[in-house]
Symmetry: C5
Subunit: 78 residues, 5 copies
Amino acid sequence: MIRGRVVGRVWSTKNIETIPNGALLEVESEGGGTVVALDIIGCAEGEAVLVTQGSVAASHFPNVKAPIDALIIGSIDE
Amino acid sequence: MIRGRVVGRVWSTKNIETIPNGALLEVESEGGGTVVALDIIGCAEGEAVLVTQGSVAASHFPNVKAPIDALIIGSIDE
Amino acid sequence: MIRGRVVGRVWSTKNIETIPNGALLEVESEGGGTVVALDIIGCAEGEAVLVTQGSVAASHFPNVKAPIDALIIGSIDE
Amino acid sequence: MIRGRVVGRVWSTKNIETIPNGALLEVESEGGGTVVALDIIGCAEGEAVLVTQGSVAASHFPNVKAPIDALIIGSIDE
Amino acid sequence: MIRGRVVGRVWSTKNIETIPNGALLEVESEGGGTVVALDIIGCAEGEAVLVTQGSVAASHFPNVKAPIDALIIGSIDE
């Protein structure tokens, strides 16, 4: 997983419609890059988070073919 | 997912034929790199998009073994 | 796999609850980057470890959809 | 997918024997790195190609556990 | 796949025990980074090799949940 911090939110009206419910948050990783991750636990801007990437992000949603490759799996205690 | 912007389109006449219908768009990511992603929602050059990568891009197409590792899952509202 | 060294531990009280038991350790890779990996074999700070990444990290836990993309699979003999 | 150009070919006599038939071509990506990808459509040196990476490259071969993580899926029209 | 050269071997006495038999070799890739890959074909230090990465490395071992994300699939003829 990567550590990161929520720096914004992305809105998408035109999409492929199998994206699970949740917010699409921009997360700046410690290393400097930025990833857009699905958030289903309710994180706020500035919050430190753990992001998992790849197919395991989609596997969390067993009944859909979720087309996501990044998921916030936890808020980091600070 | 990564944020990016459509900068071009790629055409391939000679291919392995299991590529799903759609456009192969060149997307420049925020980080600077470029990825060619399949577009099935109709994005135009200059449009800001969200790209998912890896096997989840292929999983969106349940009845074929789609050989794609990048899919535009949404247009970003601007 | 990547070689790395344990440099810290991450605590997350608010999380998505399917994370398997174990410690979330920060591992600095030889190349310089940092990854947070699940540790189920009991590694200490400063220990040299091998980290596997991607869906194989989750596959180690057969009965759950573990949302992890990094797992310490061994301590390196030094 | 990444865009790249074929710059060479790799030969391997000693291998794990489940590699599908095809050529192992060295492809230089636009970004500058080099990847060795399996070619089953017959590309020549200097040809511009699209390369897919990760497990979808192996999924193209349904009856074997192909140990490949990069596959040329098309030649780019120029 | 990536081209690389074997530069060392890693030993791990304390591990998660589902690692398949073979050697854990350090491979320096052409690009400069280093990866630890499982070797089941018997490569020596200095040998040029092809390394596959990700879940396909684990898929080569059908009867176990091999926790490996890098496998040497061939020695490169030189």
